[in-house]
Amino acid sequence: MLLPFFEWCETLWLGQFVVGSNWLFPVIESVHLLALALLGGAVFVVDFRMLGLGLKDRGVAELANDVRPWMLAGLCVMVLTGVPLFLSEPIKCYYSTAFWVKMTTLPIALVFTLTLRARMAQAAPVRGTARRQQLVGALSIALWFTVAAAGRWIGFS
């Protein structure tokens, strides 16, 4: 059902431009990885803190506010580089299970991070918050690890 859409994606100029170059795909891929490292640091430092690990002398809200610009920057670069990577091989992606795992978990991770997790990071430290924060932190790590591993796995098919 979605195949025609993926076939249309393959005709787009940007993807063809990437395919036409020997170097572009690896270079974009590298930037994608650099942004992943930045994103990992900015996301995990807050997740770890929610679990009571790492920078535990600081408040969760303070940490989350401090690293938010870097997290958003990481996310932006990941999307901006991810799109041309996808457009260069949409049909391969269509038949890749890893791609669909990523496309399922990525929106979940994004929405979860920008809504529930963001709100939980600002929650006043009252009784019962800590437990829920731990759950949110653990879930966030699991989600982003899944997105990253699935993303890497697209390259193995």
């Binding site: 020997n22 891929e29 990885l33 490292a37 640091g41 995990f44 920078l55 401090d66 690293v67 990253a148």
Partner: protein
């Protein structure tokens, strides 16, 4: 025994062949390498950005360094273990990859930078622990770390590409030299 001979011996071992030919083990090791990168380079980047006064400005530098250090080390250990396994799976080609060789050089430089930071700069942390803009030497170490780990990631990713592989000849003389290719001399 030369390093190349060692790699040839390694490539013939049962474990190397098994890992190389495995359907799932190799991708699992490679994925773990990437997940550990998120943690290790991620946390290292946070410290670098703090040294440059670009994030966590109200957090003392010593707190960022010491609280994150155990996790940074844990991430690094996983990176090294999975990295060694990745080399073990494809020894000869990796050894003769200019990208792998560049990565090793960058890794040594990054290690020197860490050593320099901890032995020369971090020892006087009490004087500037709360400064948003840290001393020049600390900022330089932070910037060097960002650049070097970035270069290590890019070089590492490029190992997968075969443009400069020894078995694809002719290559520029510089490539053959840098990659240590054994090229049979052609007599006209």
């Amino acid at each position: 025994m030369s390093l190349l001979a060692f790699c040839e011996w390694l490539a013939a071992t049962e474990g190397s062949i098994a890992l190389h030919e495995s359907m799932y083990m190799y991708p699992i090791v490679e994925s773990t390498h990437v997940l550990a990168l998120m943690l290790f380079v991620g946390f290292a980047t946070l410290l670098d950005l703090r040294l440059l006064g670009l994030t966590l400005k109200r957090v003392p530098v010593s707190q960022v360094a010491e609280r994150l250090l155990p996790w940074t080390i844990a991430g690094f250990v996983v990176m090294v273990v999975t990295g060694v396994l990745l080399f073990y799976a494809i020894p000869i080609r990796t050894y003769q990859s200019i990208f792998f060789r560049a990565k090793v050089i960058f890794l040594i430089l990054a290690g020197l930078n860490v050593w320099l930071f901890h032995s020369r700069i971090f020892t006087r942390i009490a004087e500037w622990d709360h400064d948003i803009i840290t001393p020049r030497a600390a900022r330089r170490a932070g910037l060097a770390s960002l650049v070097l780990w970035g270069a290590i990631i890019v070089a590492g990713r490029m190992i997968a590409y075969n443009w400069f592989d020894c078995d694809i000849q002719p290559q520029p003389a510089f490539v053959n030299w840098a990659a240590g290719c054994v090229v049979p001399t052609v007599t006209p």
